[in-house]
Symmetry: C2
Subunit: 347 residues, 2 copies
């Protein structure tokens, strides 16, 4: 099978995506790979596998690679005159943050009929916003940390106790996130967050809360990862997450009882099915006192696709590639226009 790995994007996580793609080149050994880079100007390039090194991108050398156009027949090499279709079985959307996770790439692939692994349009938009993720979880009967929404230029008053966390609504990889321990620190944290986003969430910060990550997808059956307990630090900052994304070893399983594991898995399945069909996602959960599972966030395109959480990552991708949802076809027969024309004596 040939996978086309799409990475880059006009995103704050552009560089993380490059690292994810380079990592997947090492991890995926049995299949053929193509590499499609989306640069910050939103031009697509086909990158020679030999050139999949970080300095190809940071130096601008990628601009010497083949430019791709995207249209009704998918990606093609060359211009509109004499272009040649780029052939592959399925595209892996590996663009983190804007473009990849906000729904743009999903929309383009669906619009032009390109087969892809990744969140569909609706799933992208709901998981890209931390606020809409919470709305979704609540509607599904899954707990979330309480929150308040602030808008750029609006009131900064709120009724939460300190410490709290300030989170830009739409950014990943902890970008713009701050822990605020007193009212005096709030303005600065909000200034930082509003530099990046128009909408910002406030949440209570709970010291030492238990966090568990679970990834997976649905093929002919559920394929769930082991449960990972992420590093116990106040917040994983951007640098640490960045290094984290390039790792290529498997992690150790969290030591939890069977009941909690089952509750995490049940919550995952409720979130995934059917909205996230076609994607491999990671859900990050909190477990609060009493053992209740809260959804913290959904990563619909986790760093290097969270491959290190799976026994048979490559086989799972192949299986997922044969369980992708497709848009319904809509046949347009101009029945109403014909009936109006015939009523007017035109037809």
């Amino acid at each position: 099978m040939t996978f086309a790995i799409l990475f880059g994007g006009s995103s704050f996580e552009h560089e993380i995506s490059i690292v994810s793609a380079i990592t997947l080149k090492k991890v995926l050994k049995k299949n053929s790979l193509l590499f499609i880079f989306l640069d910050q100007e939103r031009e697509f390039y086909l990158i020679d596998s030999q050139k999949m090194k970080s300095d190809t991108f940071s130096s601008g050398a990628y601009k010497k690679e083949k430019k791709l156009s995207l249209g009704k027949d998918g990606f093609s090499i060359g211009g509109f005159l004499g272009s040649k279709a780029l052939s592959f079985d399925v595209l892996l959307n590996l663009i983190h943050g804007r473009d990849g996770e906000d729904g743009k790439i999903a929309a383009l692939m669906e619009f032009y009929g390109v087969s892809f692994i990744g969140p569909r349009l609706e799933a992208s938009v709901l998981s890209y916003s931390k606020r809409h993720t919470k709305m979704l979880a609540r509607e599904l009967g899954i707990g979330v940390m309480e929150y308040r929404v602030l808008y750029r230029g609006g009131s900064r008053e709120h009724d939460l106790d300190y410490p709290l966390i300030v989170k830009p609504d739409h950014l990943g990889s902890s970008i713009g996130v701050s822990v605020v321990r007193s009212a005096a620190e709030l303005d600065y944290a909000l200034d930082v967050a509003f530099e990046l986003d128009d909408t910002v969430l406030l949440e209570p910060f709970v010291e030492g809360i238990c966090e568990y990550n679970l990834a997976g997808c649905k093929t002919s059956l559920w394929e769930l990862s082991l449960v990972e307990e992420p590093q116990k630090e106040e917040l994983l900052d951007f640098d640490k997450k960045y290094r984290d994304f390039s790792r290529d070893e498997r992690v150790r399983e969290a030591v939890i009882d069977a009941g909690l594991k089952e509750r995490l898995e049940e919550a995952f399945k409720k979130i995934y099915d059917p909205l996230f069909a076609g994607s491999l996602i990671r859900c990050d959960f909190f477990v609060v006192e009493g053992g209740e599972v809260y959804l913290n966030e959904i990563n619909p395109i986790p760093g290097s696709m969270a491959h290190y959480l799976f026994e048979d990552f490559e086989g799972m991708l192949e299986r997922l590639a044969s369980h992708l949802p497709w848009e319904k076809s809509i046949e347009i027969d101009y029945r109403y226009i014909h009936s109006i024309q015939s009523a007017k004596g035109k037809a």
Copy 2:
């Protein structure tokens, strides 16, 4: 100002969109207009203004018009001697239903930097689904009719009393909607709805509920329409809505007291701002006993843009065109890759 009217689409409401576009050609008198048709195969065509008649589309004659390509520099007209950019000031997204209202066109326009009037990606996805519309309204503190969600292939059991309404989650113009008066009628109504959508909502059907529609947008200030009381029929069916979309006269204002008008306007503003910036939407409300305002649905691209609800529709469009939100630009400086390279002694 030159407006490019985009219509058609791979949508159950393809024909309604053609009628909307023909109607707007009559309504917009002061500005230059271009007409871009998206056919069911998702090819774009530039339609000569003289040919903006329904049989151009129903006969397939549009295929003789100029084909357009969409890319980094917006739309362009192909040709043997290179392509030529299609120049206009702002595009009006007038594709109803799939493609136009589900977020695909918003994604394409945002991705390729085309200035457009219409719901942005996030607003599209939230209003395209009746379920997510309800989640949004609840989160904003606006009442909605209670509902249950059924999935294709899942259980059809529910705990609502009859009569109830069956609604496909993602379709507009009342397509696939049925009033069900007893359990015996439910299966048939669900079969119809699941032909069209994977997700279906059940809602109580309240005989003779008061309905009010309010449209508008935010330019330098709020520009809200008069309040319309739609026809009192059990359900406006597809044929009636279709004829409704082609009307070009103004409607009569609903007779309501100032307090109710204010509550409708307050609910509209809460929904619109900031999510729907850049679009002209129509919100359809129910008023339940006690005078509470419930949101029924959001039409982010109402038929012929609900022009008949406004005093100065064309002027408002011009003002909206100069109050469009823009994507933040993200500068990518390869700081992290450079710092890793220098740590490795490469830079």
